[in-house]
Symmetry: C2
Subunit: 344 residues, 2 copies
DNA sequence: TTGAAAGCGCTACCAA
DNA sequence: TTGGTAGCGCTTTCAA
């Protein structure tokens, strides 16, 4: 079976292709009679225009290219879901590509998609790109009139819309939350010191400690790059040399769970003797024992916001608005790894 | 800036578009001189053909449509990763759509993508579709010459390639593994009894129990549909009324963790007094305490296999091979929720 | 009210 | 060795 085209319909009614085209668009140019019969027929056989032809003609594909470093990451999966949902709502499709944090992959993918495959991009930049700060490929895409919205890991040098969370603020709030719940010695642990996300979080930690009127104790801070989760526990050990430590802000769920495990092994009760807040609200948090209190980045919202910003630009290229950076607020989701402060 | 086209290059050298086209393809028809200068120039300005035009002309898009029920699921994310990787390797793109387990969404998406957007599909069918067994939309796609490969949740009535795991066998092996590690009373717990995956697992459990020469004790079996993980614990309680239960096969990680939690609350040591094997190897397993022994479905391999099968059909439509169902073998990944049997 | 023609960017056939 | 033309499926302008 072959897909039916305008030509086929035209032949069927002995009219021209243009007549059919207009009729299907409900143009007043065409007599109601022919319009109706053509429409009815098209409906009946479930006619759908060839999207490639449309893309070629209209110079727009109604598809969004998405680049993410990874897919096996709950936060990113949430964002993808938010994007997909919003895209579909506006009748856009998404093509998703994984950079694996490789700069070259990122360049290749952008090149591949920049040739009539997509109308714009939503990107969380690759680690290598974040480090090298080489942003030519992004600027090329922009020059070809392919707008970009970056989220979470963004390239500050690039002029485009961005969606981020205020991680510094989030770090500060986490400290304050722990303090309010009664923690006296609050530490910080990150396994991804190379990422801006983590650096901001650390700044927020400093802010928090200062706002408590305490001074920074470097012994309570671990800020490293540790790639494999099996090494988290040994990474954290030093923090527990100070037996008085009673709270830790962890840069990700895995680190938070490792911290709880060590604390438990040392006979501490959670949250009575030891509390921890993990950064980003993933699946681990919900299933750990005790369940983990986290900072939620609202991934789905971020995705939706990014998609809305991009689609807005695509649908209304005429109003060349200033590039905006949208902050999505974070929330602390209280579970059982911290004492509740709600009762205050 | 505008994307440069063949026309632009042709103008630049005062030759025709067809000359440029041929030159870039390295056709012997064109003199080496012009060929070289055109190629060099195209290279220099980084010329890339418009993919829409190519798709329209060639009637193939080099893109694969993927339909999955969900995205926030580690197993599916693994499969997606496997597909994406393989696709890119063969120079295909993927467009990913989420059905949210809705039959109608599934139909809409397939219709939307069937109009020149993709060359074929890779699908894990929606729960509603699995229940209703209405497969017209799949057959329509096939009729339009859009091959389908289904994975994991497959529609048996549809004539297409499939990639599955032998879940029955996996269930049996899990029972045997527990028995070999010393468990005497092995139960079964599923929160998704409506899915074939789970039903097969249960059959495997029966097989396993029988092969041990034991008889089925219905009190040791929970086979239900429970949507929210917060209800897993209450779902499992009845199993523990028989205090002698010392092993459970769980249909997913969440259920397995809940089982461990209850056992621990009852003062059982894991794995000494109580063991559990969780179905599918996700992130929870690696971070739980104790870490969970699981049956791995090898999601990435499944994805890669599905993609290979589809691309094989797309690239060689001439050899109309029989439809195949490929079994990916499962493996038990031993962690700390079971006693090791390796020492036998 | 309808249709012919041009064009989106590319390839392939045939003619020069 | 090169170029013109037709056509992929569609829209749009202009003419009939």
């Amino acid at each position: 079976m072959k897909k039916v085209t305008l030509k086929d319909i035209a032949k069927k009614f002995n009219v021209s292709v243009s007549t059919v085209s207009k009729a299907l668009k409900g143009s007043e140019e065409i007599s109601k009679a022919t319009r109706d019969k053509i429409k009815t027929y098209a409906e009946a056989i479930n006619y759908r225009p060839n999207l490639n032809a449309l893309s070629l003609k209209n110079r727009r594909t109604k598809t969004i290219g998405i680049l993410v470093p990874d897919m096996l990451n709950y936060f990113l999966a949430q964002v993808l879901k938010g994007i997909e949902k919003t895209a579909i709502k506006h009748n856009y499709k998404v093509v998703i590509c994984i950079t694996n944090d490789s700069h070259n992959r990122e360049i290749e993918i952008i090149e591949m998609l920049s040739n009539g495959s997509v109308d714009g991009f939503i990107i969380s930049i690759a680690e290598e790109t974040e480090i090298s700060k080489e942003f030519n490929h992004f600027n090329n895409a922009l020059a070809f009139n392919l707008p970009i919205v970056m989220f979470d890991r963004v390239a500050n040098g690039v002029l485009c819309d961005k969606v981020i969370t205020n991680n510094r603020k989030a770090g500060e709030q986490a400290v304050i939350n722990l303090a309010e719940s009664g923690c006296r010695k609050i530490g910080f642990a990150s396994s991804n010191s190379h990422l801006k996300v983590s650096q901001d979080l650390l700044k927020g930690y400093y802010d928090g400690i200062h706002s408590l009127g305490q001074s920074i104790d470097e012994k309570l801070i671990i800020h490293k790059k540790v790639d494999h989760y099996s090494d988290y526990e040994s990474m954290l050990e030093p923090l527990f040399e100070d037996d008085a430590i009673d709270g830790i802000i962890a840069s990700n769920e895995g680190v938070a769970l490792a911290a709880m495990k060590i604390a438990q092994q040392r006979g501490k009760l959670i949250p009575e003797d030891f509390s921890t807040i993990g950064f980003t609200n993933g699946i681990l948090a919900r299933h750990s024992n005790p369940k983990l209190t986290t900072v939620s980045q609202h991934g789905e919202l971020m995705g939706a916001a990014a998609a809305e910003m991009l689609i807005e630009r695509l649908e209304h290229p005429e109003n060349k608005k200033e590039f905006k950076t949208k902050m999505i607020k974070t929330d602390i989701v209280e579970r059982n790894s911290t004492k509740s402060v709600k009762m205050t």
